[in-house]
């Protein structure tokens, strides 16, 4: 290729998108219904499966009267342990990427009942209505056994779980002499904090549509999940399918909050039925059945804090006891934060599990941190009062400049700025320190605050960039967008990296045929997939530069990749921006139909090893509590977040807004009530499991604190899906104490606890 092209006109499209409040690129599709969710793929000749759930918590199935249901015209099959073939020899074949230690639940595997609402059969029929009706008629006989679902009764059976699932860090070894330090402390505080189980309850119920393609065993599996790849490897191991045979697609997800990190049983059941019947099958769960999935575990936390006369933290002891199932050791980081957030030389952290007859818990937004921070930040508030120090000053006084758990520097930590900017925006200085001192008629007014912390992590991820002759850039990675804004920020990164207008870029995700990406969770997607997208686009840019340099009289002759910039649709020299080649013209001249590049990226271990990497926030809350009636309104929240570089302040703010709503829900209403007599969550509907409604939400002010970090990843991003939620519940409970003088240590802070 040796031909010349005219220099393109100088245009100023403006292709710097990173950090700009770009609206969701998939927004129109979502509001017009063009975005299809797992249960909306209306493939031809679809069969419907309806799940039959166990009414008992423990025991055995003794008989299933499938014949009675199969007699109905239009019912094709009743799948149960009686007729499901032994699929995979080893139970480890059922382990997905995020499985904790233990033996995973195997749906319809045997007669054993391990938890209430366990799926015991799948009725498959020609219509949904028929499947549902037939399922209601299916008689299943059980031999019930005594169950225990109350961790209060299993306090003495706690055990240390070991390493558990990937990413879990057991508590660090004790440091200093916490017992002695506590004994000698001028100010002491000791208390237990409790919350019951909470369920993720995304608005989109779990569902799978399996399309039977007729050739061999090939399936298109439209699944609600946070990780198509994880679902695919789970299914291929269990059903002996090749990756080509089990394509998992999940382009839109109506929330998941962790519930979709692991493959849920509906995908297993739908694939099982499709393979057995050689038909397309859909299985969707009811809201009630959503309470059979994982949950944030019921956790008891014991806190013991000591401070010296000046308010310096001398001793921290934080112990947690959380429920897990009989078959898995679900672990999350609950107590470690207490050794990290504040400067303290004497720290003891304990984390134990105890087994009950319930399903395994699962990660739920800010897993562990939301739990731990409620206890720690409530206890810090209590100790601040005892020490006679303002709760904010108390935290500033004990500010950790270094991660004492790991004995490492922070890669960056703008928590102090979060405190200052948040307090200023909130008007913290107007707070009268005395509890029950601020009021407006019947309303007692309280100000409370708390701190949050979350990990900044990066996972291995791959992406592919493909620029076609029409000037369109397609970038893809098998990631997911659970409403977080992944589509949008990846489009921004790609467009800016190659200097193309946003409209010329499409990002694809949620398909196992795309380059491999981790599950979307842990706030690592922006860092992991973003880095891969940037790298793939840079690799593509290098190819474009090479093509440009093959032009006769190329204005970019001899330039290295570092010497040029991709901006406004051109490649130009840094030193002389008039020396440039238009990307569209280049493709035209080159005669190439498309130029492609792929990249796989992961954390730079060598660079990161010396550092501790975290996002932080400071939450300030004003509550109004009716003095006589105990009703609580969260009138105002200021949430100041330092999470590295903000790729898109609009979607980032939206993440924090949602987090605050979550925090208000955790503080004031969310709890899954286990009726221990039945061993069953009894408020299993959204009418009785309360999450906030619009009328519960008032002013939320999000402050995105500037934070530069070139250690975490090339983009400098820490992720923002979790951090905004951490600390909110404690801040609300602390504000309630300030308003009323009543300390509520068992969530939620419902009105009965304030009468």
């Amino acid at each position: 290729m040796k031909q010349t092209i005219a220099a393109p006109p100088v245009i100023r499209l403006g292709t710097d998108y990173i950090g700009k409040p770009v609206s969701r690129v998939e927004g129109l599709a979502k509001v017009t219904g063009a975005a299809k969710y797992a249960a909306e793929f209306n493939v031809p000749d679809l069969l419907y499966g309806y799940v039959v759930s166990s009414p008992i918590a423990k025991g055995k199935i003794t008989r299933i009267h499938a014949d009675e249901v199969l007699a109905l015209s239009g019912v094709l099959q009743v799948f149960s342990h009686e007729n499901v073939p032994s699929l995979a020899w080893f139970d480890r074949s059922y382990k997905d990427d995020l499985a904790p230690g233990g033996s995973p639940f195997r749906p319809l595997h045997d007669a054993e009942i391990l938890f209430s609402q366990q799926p015991v059969a799948l009725v498959v029929a020609e219509t949904f209505e028929l499947a549902r009706y037939a399922a209601s008629l299916l008689r299943v006989e059980y031999a019930a056994e005594a169950h225990e679902t109350d961790i209060e009764k299993k306090r003495d059976d706690g055990y240390e779980p070991g390493r558990g699932k990937s990413g879990f860090m057991p508590p660090p070894k004790p440091r200093g002499n916490p017992n002695e330090a506590y004994k000698n402390a001028a100010h002491q505080h000791e208390a237990e904090y409790i919350h019951l189980a909470q369920h993720n309850n995304p608005l989109e119920n779990f569902a799978t549509t399996v399309e039977w393609l007729g050739e061999g065993k090939k399936l298109n599996i439209f699944d609600k999940t946070q990780g198509a790849m994880n679902v695919q490897q789970y299914l291929t191991k269990i059903f002996g399918l090749s990756k080509e045979e089990a394509r998992v697609i999940s382009k839109f997800t109506g929330g998941a909050f962790g519930a979709g990190l692991r493959p849920q049983y509906q995908v297993f059941l739908a694939v099982l039925a499709a393979l057995a019947l050689e038909r397309s099958v859909r299985v969707s769960l009811t809201r009630q059945q959503m309470f059979s999935l994982g949950h944030r575990p019921h956790t008891l936390q014991y806190l013991k804090l000591g401070a010296n006369e000046n308010g310096g933290l001398e001793a921290v002891h934080h112990a947690a006891l959380a429920e897990t199932s009989q078959f898995e050791d679900f672990t999350e980081v609950v107590v470690n934060w207490s050794g990290l957030l504040y400067q303290c030389e004497n720290v003891k952290l304990d984390y134990q599990l105890t087994k009950i007859d319930a399903n395994s818990p699962i990660d739920m937004r800010a897993p562990g941190a939301a739990t731990g921070s409620f206890a720690l930040e409530s206890a810090m508030d209590e100790l601040a009062y005892k020490a006679g120090v303002d709760p904010l000053d108390f935290r500033l006084l004990n500010y950790a400049e270094r991660d004492q758990n790991m004995n490492k520097e922070f890669s960056s930590k703008k928590l102090r700025e979060c405190y200052h900017q948040g307090a200023a925006r909130f008007g913290w200085e107007k707070r009268n320190p005395t509890p029950r001192s601020m009021r407006d008629g019947n309303w007692l007014i309280g100000y409370g605050m708390a701190t949050g912390c979350w990990d900044a992590t990066q996972q291995k991820a791959a992406a592919k960039a493909s620029l076609t002759a029409d000037g369109h850039l397609m970038v893809s990675s098998a990631s997911n967008d659970i409403g977080t804004g992944t589509y949008t920020i990846m489009t921004q990164i790609a467009a800016q990296t190659l200097g193309l207008p946003l409209e010329a870029v499409t990002f694809r995700l949620g398909d196992t045929e795309l380059p491999e990406a981790p599950v979307q969770g842990g706030s690592w997607t922006a860092a992991s997939v973003g880095t891969a997208v940037q790298a793939a686009c840079q690799a593509l840019g290098k190819k474009l530069l090479k093509l440009a340099q093959q032009l006769a009289d190329s204005p970019l002759q001899g330039a290295a990749f570092e010497d040029v910039q991709f901006v406004d649709g051109v490649i130009r020299l840094n030193e002389d921006i008039s020396r440039r080649v238009g990307i569209a013209e280049l493709l035209d001249a080159s005669g190439e139909e498309k130029v492609e590049a792929e990249a796989t990226t992961g954390p730079n271990m060598l660079k990161q090893q010396p550092y501790s990497m975290h996002s932080h926030n400071a939450v300030f809350v004003e509550v109004r509590v009716d003095e006589d009636l105990g009703t609580v309104h969260v009138a105002r929240v200021v949430n100041a977040v330092a999470a590295g570089r903000i790729l898109n302040p609009k979607t980032a703010r939206s993440q924090v807004l949602g987090s605050v709503v979550w925090g208000i829900g955790m503080a004031l209403m969310e709890e899954s009530i286990m009726d221990h007599g039945f061993g069953r969550y009894i408020n299993h509907s959204l009418a009785e499991y309360h999450i906030p409604v619009m009328a519960d939400i008032h002013t939320i002010d999000v402050v995105l604190v500037e934070e530069e970090d070139d250690i975490v990843n090339p983009l400098g991003v820490k992720g923002i899906g979790e951090i905004g939620f951490v600390g909110v519940a404690a801040a609300v409970a602390n504000a309630v104490f300030h308003a009323t003088g009543k300390r509520v240590r068992d969530l939620p802070v419902s009105l009965d606890k304030l009468l």
Binding site: T631, F678, A687
Partner: protein, 341 residues
């Protein structure tokens, strides 16, 4: 949900005949509760007589001077009807405290009276329930009973009636107009819903086949001093932990007439005539209100998780009466919008 047949009746007698000619049948109004119950297999009718085409949607002056709410008028139409807003603002406020706009647009006034309890166990077929299956036992007694009754419960059932609207109808002394196989009759509101006693499966005193055709409001609407105070676990779309409809007629600071009814505390809207009697002729002071409140909860029994409701009901009654006294709807038509804490 089982399969069912459905008939669209166009006249009342046709509806009565249609229902009577089918075993295991039910009337279908707005369907906002019945269809849910059918999806949960709590109700399993095999035939529905749809009332949608009956000419019962009118809201008009009643022959005796009050207002007649057609049984098929929706909750939304009723709450925003100019006559209701003007003369029965307590009813408007109460309706708007319930459910969501979507539900209120579908739910009918007759259907509102027919709502079944929201007891967790009633809805969950995995648990015994005397209301759903008489004789199987009550799971709420000794179970989780935060939303259950503190007044008028029995050893068979401690469920509560979930309606807000009915609390106002009880306070306003509405009359339920019904048609049945034996003709028409009128049921005083206090006699419409019943306490569980030994027959918890029966929510009300309707006879088999009877159909609500209208709800009549007497002339007196207490449009000046009233309040509906609804306390719940979130600000909207939650059933009442305790609610209070209070209506007063004041002469200066003296109470001339009083109406007091509670929701969320019993198997029926709980009107306390004893407390009302105690208020009449007394000054509208907190002290008076406290005595009335004590009277309301006299004999209240907690079941464990709902013990708090006794004290909450006391406080709610005092607050509601105070709010009703301070309210002057003639001066400020939006006053009630801000009256819920």
């Amino acid at each position: 949900m089982n399969s069912f047949t459905l008939t669209q009746a166009t006249a009342i007698d046709e509806a009565l005949r249609d229902k009577a000619s089918h075993d295991n049948s039910a009337y279908l109004g707005g369907g906002t509760n019945l269809i849910d119950l059918m999806k949960e297999n709590v109700a399993r009718p095999t035939h529905l007589t749809s009332l949608h085409k009956l000419p019962l949607s009118q809201i008009e002056r009643a022959p005796d001077g009050g207002l007649r709410l057609g049984a098929l008028a929706t909750n939304a139409e009723t709450a925003y009807h100019p006559e209701v807003e003007k003369h029965y603002p307590l009813l408007s406020q109460t309706i708007l405290a319930g459910a969501t706009p979507q539900l209120r647009n579908m739910a009918t006034d007759g259907g509102n009276l027919m709502q079944r309890t929201r007891c967790y166990y009633f809805y969950d077929l995995a648990t015994p329930c005397n209301k759903r299956e008489p004789g199987t036992g009550c799971s709420a007694i000794g179970g989780y009973n935060r939303i259950h009754a503190i007044l008028g419960a029995s050893e068979q059932c401690i469920a509560t009636h979930p309606s807000d609207m009915c609390v106002a109808l009880a306070a306003l002394e509405a009359v339920v107009q019904v048609s049945g196989p034996d003709g028409e009759r009128r049921i005083k509101f206090e006699d419409f819903h019943r306490l569980p006693g030994e027959r918890p499966e029966l929510d009300n005193t309707l006879q088999p086949g009877e159909l609500i055709t209208a709800v009549d409001l007497p002339e007196k609407g207490f449009a000046k001093h009233f309040t509906y105070l609804k306390l719940r676990d979130r600000t909207s779309y939650a059933f009442a932990a305790v609610s209070v409809a209070a209506a007063l007629e004041l002469d200066g600071n003296t109470i001339r007439e009083a109406r007091l009814a509670l929701g969320g505390v019993a198997h029926k809207p709980w009107r306390s005539k004893e407390a009302e009697a105690l208020l009449v002729g007394r000054p509208a002071t907190v002290e008076t209100f406290r005595q009335a409140a004590d009277q309301v909860v006299k004999g209240a029994v907690g079941q464990g998780s709902n013990d708090f409701k006794i004290e909450l009901a006391r406080r709610a009654v005092v607050r509601a009466l105070k709010q009703a006294t301070e309210m002057n709807y003639e001066l400020d038509e939006n006053a009630f919008l801000n009256s819920n804490p």
